[in-house]
């Protein structure tokens, strides 16, 4: 049973990392997006493993159901295929890989030195339920919650304004 959990973890992790790498290295942007969706599903699986069911579903609805659909939409409407994309010079690519690798190295080094509390023997499964989260969200985090709503409203208005086609008759910038 325990090994089963570890196996699941390993499968999900390798899936997530594989999909993440494919997102970056796919030549076709649509493939990138689809791999990213796969990565998100793997992460949702991680959430389930961590018994955050509600969050897992919301993650899928928001990321897979909304955000990535928007990406696909944009990509499809722009009709960007691999032929059109020019790639960076080799030197820049090597630089990119080296920079990211250095960051990885440093992050792992930092994490290795992290001093953590001992793991809890038992898990509180109620924290992932919608009841608990709802109570915490609307009591402790009410103000950030309201801010988030204002942020979303602002983003909505901004997006509508930006994406709106300009009326050719009115001569405004």
């Amino acid at each position: 049973m325990h090994n089963f959990t570890l196996l699941l973890f390993l499968i999900l992790s390798s899936l997530a990392i594989f999909c993440g790498l494919m997102t970056v290295f796919s030549r076709n942007p649509i493939h990138s997006a689809l791999f990213l969706i796969g990565c998100f599903f793997a992460i949702a699986g991680h959430y389930l493993l961590l018994s955050a069911q509600f969050l897992a579903i919301v993650h899928i609805i928001v990321y897979a159901g909304a955000i990535m659909v928007l990406f696909l939409f944009t990509l499809m409407l722009m009709n960007l295929n691999e032929e059109t994309e020019q790639h960076k010079p080799a030197l820049a690519k090597i630089g990119a890989v080296i920079s990211a690798g250095m960051l990885m190295l440093v992050l792992v080094a930092v994490f290795k030195r992290a001093v953590l509390a001992p793991p809890p023997p038992y898990q509180d499964f109620s924290i992932g339920t919608i009841e608990t989260l709802g109570k915490v969200l609307l009591n402790e985090f009410l103000l950030p919650f309201e801010f988030a709503s204002v942020l979303l409203l602002t983003a909505m208005i901004g997006a509508v304004l930006l994406a709106k086609k300009q009326n050719p008759n009115t001569n405004q910038a």
């Binding site: 990392i17 919301v58 792992v108």
Partner: protein, 108 residues
């Protein structure tokens, strides 16, 4: 029913490493590609790496604050995508490209 914590099987360091790897893949994507939309996706990937870590530590400390924070990250990500893609579409309409190396008007 009190089940054993997952961290008895999977040490939390594993999660740290996985999330660090995902984050660095996101960074790599940002540096490696020229297509602005892919860069956007890489940023989403980084955000998700952080989310994963937040959820992991939320379970580790038995504190739902971390999960609530993930909601806020999602809200920000959604807002960012909505506005960001709208900007990209507007740029695409004008210059017919989303290649960041061609969008260097920031120079002035």
């Amino acid at each position: 029913m009190a089940l054993l914590s997952i961290f008895q099987t999977v040490p939390v360091h594993y999660y740290l490493v996985v999330s660090a790897m995902l984050f660095c893949i996101g960074v790599l994507g940002v540096l490696y590609r020229r297509n602005a939309i892919i860069i956007f996706m890489s940023i989403e990937l980084m955000l998700n790496a952080v989310n994963l870590l937040l959820v992991a530590f939320s379970a580790y400390h038995n504190d739902s604050g971390g999960q609530v924070f993930v909601f806020f990250v999602m809200a920000v990500a959604a807002a960012e995508v909505a506005v960001g893609l709208a900007i990209l579409v507007a740029i695409f309409r004008n210059v017919h490209a989303v290649d960041i190396d061609e969008l260097k008007n920031l120079k002035w």
